[in-house]
């Protein structure tokens, strides 16, 4: 199992490194259109071929991976922060605050967030830039994804508050602030980290689903999800297997993340 984790971490590192370094290389522009080569298969000039408007598929894949791998962790960070506010803090406070937080978490878990996301994404201004659409999409994903981590953090905070070392600290006259910062928070950090790493692939997949519907990151900026839209053209899939490259990268990345960061013991 340890070897599998190391292999998974290696896959994530390689893909991330390629996407970060590759997208900075000169001439590797995702917007550049080769007017002589439209919808072509792999060649010496374009290793993964070109899309319908002559853009290099490899350059778009590398840039798309960078967009997804940079923005998904940011969104996951937002989700975990909100989960901390809505779960860990009320779990520490207890009483009415905890009951209100529990009701809000139950509400958040009951709502079909994909529908809400679709709705919000639909009303974005028509002239929204592609960068802004990417930021808003991931921001919304982060904003709506706090339910599950909040429930886990609340349960963990509550359990910690009932533990013997917290009772002992309280009996010793430790202030509430010090109790939280010195004793409770360090014990919550591993759970928060685990929730963060669990959220990243979930958010990448959610963005992919939105983009497949044309409601994710807007053109010309690529993301792994928006690149998957090329699969929609069934005929082009049949003629050119390189269209599957984004899907393979996505699957490799998400499965590696799931293996490498599956910390069930702290969840």
């Amino acid at each position: 199992m340890k070897m599998t984790r190391i292999a998974a971490l290696a896959v994530i590192s390689v893909i991330t490194l390629i996407s970060m370094v590759g997208s900075l290389l000169p001439g590797f522009d995702y917007r550049l259109q080769d007017r002589k080569h439209f919808s072509e298969g792999p060649s010496y000039e374009h290793w993964l071929g070109t899309d319908a408007v002559g853009r290099d598929r490899l350059a778009r894949l590398v840039h798309g991976a960078r967009v997804s791998f940079l923005l998904a962790p940011a969104a996951a960070g937002l989700s975990v922060f909100l989960a901390f506010v809505m779960g860990a803090a009320p779990g520490f406070a207890g009483g009415v605050t905890e009951r209100i937080a529990k009701s809000m978490i139950d509400l958040a878990l009951s709502l079909p967030w994909f529908f809400l996301l679709l709705m919000v994404r639909a009303v974005l201004p028509l002239n929204t830039s592609s960068g802004a659409s990417a930021a808003i999409t991931f921001f919304m994903l982060g904003l709506l994804g706090w339910g599950v981590p909040a429930r886990i953090l609340l349960a963990r905070a509550k359990r910690l508050m009932q533990s013997e070392f917290v009772l002992l600290a309280r009996a010793s006259g430790v202030s509430e602030r010090r109790l939280f910062c010195v004793h409770v928070l360090p014990n919550l950090l591993p759970v928060m980290m685990a929730q963060f790493w669990i959220a990243v692939p979930v958010l990448i997949l959610a963005e992919a689903n939105l983009s497949l519907l044309g409601l994710g990151v807007a053109e010309p900026l690529p993301s792994l999800g928006s690149l998957l839209r090329d699969l929609e053209s069934v005929l082009s899939v049949r003629s050119d297997l390189s269209n599957f490259a984004p899907l393979l990268v996505l699957v490799a990345m998400v499965s590696s993340m799931q293996i490498a960061f599956a910390k069930r013991e702290v969840c």
Binding site: S110, L111, P112, M119, P125, L247, L250
Partner: protein
């Protein structure tokens, strides 16, 4: 009496959650950047007066509280409004398409659950490591695929679109069920029963399943919500004329009356399904 009280409490909670969910939908839409702008305003043929009229129409919806109260009042009267993009009553559109979505979701859930339960039972009784690993890898791989990509792959293979829903629900249900059964299998009373020579099937159905029934019923509720959510990309990409496709078309056309009503209906359906599963689990727990 106690059962009726539980049901009443649950119904009150469900109603409150539905109202809160609808309010959240309305608030999210109201504060989303771009609210109040209409595609029609970019139409070069429209005069300045017409554009102004369009703007003042949308400005009536700017204050979220009166907007929500007005929408709620109309909804309680049975008036769900008219679709801006299709020019037809929203209720008519929903009635036309609800049957298709319900059929697709029901069929997918049935197949996914039968497949997941059969594989878990087979893995439990056969004790075959290769079978267990194959199932784990298959469900793990399906978990890593966006449902939209599975739908597109099915189009490529000329397969029915609902199988994408089956794949997504199966992966989650199988993973969770096998984890649950595995964890319960290690409990001391199960180990003792096995040591006494009770057959594996009897052990599973008489000792393991009763111990995990609450979690399984909760999973049933969650799987309904999962299938309903995944129905949007599947119906949109596979051309299935259901609620999901309607939601997608409305999202592209910025048709807010349809989107808001679809949203609260889906919320109601999801919350009722979850509460039904919870109620059943509580009831079973009490009678056991």
């Amino acid at each position: 009496m106690s059962t009726w009280r539980t049901i009443t409490n649950r119904l009150v909670t469900v109603s409150l959650v539905i109202l809160a969910g609808a309010f959240i939908s309305a608030t999210l839409v109201r504060y989303a950047p771009g609210f109040g702008t209409d595609e029609q305003q970019l139409d070069a043929r429209l005069s300045r007066e017409s554009i102004q009229a369009l703007r003042s129409e949308s400005s009536a919806e700017r204050n979220v509280a009166p907007y929500y109260v007005g929408w709620l009042r109309r909804t309680l009267r049975g008036d769900l409004g008219t679709s801006r993009s299709m020019g037809r009553p929203v209720s008519q559109l929903l009635i036309e398409r609800a049957g298709t979505t319900l059929r697709v979701v029901a069929k997918s859930l049935t197949i996914a659950w039968i497949a997941a339960v059969s594989l878990v039972v087979a893995t439990w009784t056969v004790h075959s490591a290769p079978l267990e690993k194959t199932c784990t890898i298959a469900s793990g791989l399906l978990l890593c695929l966006p449902v939209g990509a599975v739908a597109l792959l099915l189009i490529l293979l000329n397969g029915p679109g609902y199988l994408a829903l089956v794949a997504i629900v199966f992966s989650k249900v199988h993973r969770y069920l096998s984890d649950l059964v595995g964890a319960t299998g290690g409990m001391s009373h199960i180990v003792a029963a096995r040591a006494k020579g009770i057959s594996e099937l009897r052990l599973l159905f008489w000792h393991v399943i009763p111990a995990i029934r609450r979690e399984v019923l909760a999973l049933a509720g969650v799987s309904i919500a999962l299938a309903v959510n995944a129905a949007i990309p599947v119906e949109a990409l596979c051309g299935i004329p259901g609620i999901g496709q309607l939601a997608w078309h409305s999202a592209l056309a910025r048709d807010l009356p349809v989107l808001l009503n679809v949203s609260w209906l889906v919320i109601a359906f999801t919350v009722l399904a979850n509460s039904g599963a919870d109620l059943l689990a509580d009831e079973r727990g009490r009678t056991a």
